[in-house]
Subunit: 260 residues, 2 copies
Amino acid sequence: MSAPSTRARQATDRADQLPVRVPKAAELIANVIRRKIVLGELQEGDPLPAESKLMEQFNVSRPTLREAFRILETEALIQVRRGAGGGARIQAPRDEMAARSFGMLLQIRNATLGEVLQARSFIEPPLAGQLAARRSEEDMAALTAHIEMERETLEDFEKFGQATAVFHQLLVSRAGNVAVALMVGMLDDIFSRHVTQFVARARSDQLALNQLALRNHTRLVDRIAARDAAGAEAAWRDHMNELYDIIMSELGETTVLDLY
Amino acid sequence: MSAPSTRARQATDRADQLPVRVPKAAELIANVIRRKIVLGELQEGDPLPAESKLMEQFNVSRPTLREAFRILETEALIQVRRGAGGGARIQAPRDEMAARSFGMLLQIRNATLGEVLQARSFIEPPLAGQLAARRSEEDMAALTAHIEMERETLEDFEKFGQATAVFHQLLVSRAGNVAVALMVGMLDDIFSRHVTQFVARARSDQLALNQLALRNHTRLVDRIAARDAAGAEAAWRDHMNELYDIIMSELGETTVLDLY
DNA sequence: CGCCATTAATGGTCTAACTCATTTATCTGT
DNA sequence: ACAGATAAATGAGTTAGACCATTAATGGCG
């Protein structure tokens, strides 16, 4: 008697799948565990009960529980090891997790490495400005200590390369915006996957490049010390642009991201 | 005879799990299918063979295949429907996919809504500047047409709200940097989940706010028309800062992201 | 004391079957 | 003919039990 136009309704539902979405048991289990992680009830390294215990607790069969494991594993929230003492352990989500899905989307949309670099050069300068405005004495201590370390490793190309990466990270994390820091972290993750061969390759002018980088870093830290937001932003923008030019001349603007 | 210090090696392996990581069958299957999607061999809407066919093709059992489905489903690459004509269908990855993992990470790190907003106000202004520098006539046509549309819906608060969102999107997508566009899309996705109640609530000064927004939009489009990169950037920065102040005064700086 | 084999714990995979949802085709009455 | 109800086919959701592979701890042997 009821449901007059069943046929028509279902036909439209095919397009917009959301309204009738029936959650699967595995999703519900994953939701419960994910919530505990996000809310901090479960922390990095904590073990989940064994599969047999969880089957009992959630009252589901093993395949279902294992589907839930695959979901959480895909989200990089757990890590499963087998053998005695194995099982599922909580993993703190890292930047790479977000970088993964982000990178996949970039690849599907045919983004170029140049765009990723440009994104960084958009984001980091304002961050440098903000750090200059807000810096604490502790920030300054960390920055100057790092500059000193860079100066000492100037001729050890590998160590200096790592040091510059750490400097970027230091800059971003001390600026005090978690969201921006995470974005830069993602971009850095994607970027660094493409330049492994670039930094590994010995360059005749590597020392000159390192000196240039150190000079720019020093200039930025000077501006931050002076609480000169505009100056810090400008200094870092120049630096990023120089970096962009160097890397683009090496790898080519049109290099398409190829990650997976 | 070989393998002298088996015990010690395994103890260290517990920390860095990567070297001995054994891929599971479900992961391998998911990798194969994911690759086909990323490389464009499988496109949005394409159906995967039925479970029985795939079991045969990959020579695995049903639970294993279904774990692979859960992995791809978690990555929002497929969507599974049951019943006749159902099965797994390819889904084009959307911004929300990246926004999900990004948002989860933000929540775990106790990011605030203010930081998300600030991130946007960091990113969008340089983008506006770039659009001003590169704009085509087609870009201008789209922008001016949109401004006109906004002017007409100025008093329909709901429509105008949507229109402003579209304006941001238009600005970002026309600036021609896929990576930045995707980042703004993520931030927008996260942001909009928090302001549903904000925009839904009727404000006594809503009309004035709309007029302010339209005035700022118009000013930006003027600067873009004039190919004035610096002016466009400054105009949009001012606008974003105004928005920031308004929303923060309403929701409070310390609102912590709460999404899941 | 240290090495190595044994054992127990635990996840990885498979087979087989049943249940439930959905679509498509068929039937039936008017 | 035609509309609506009914049946059948399709295909995912879930369960059960078994066996295999890997790992950590244990204990015995040289």
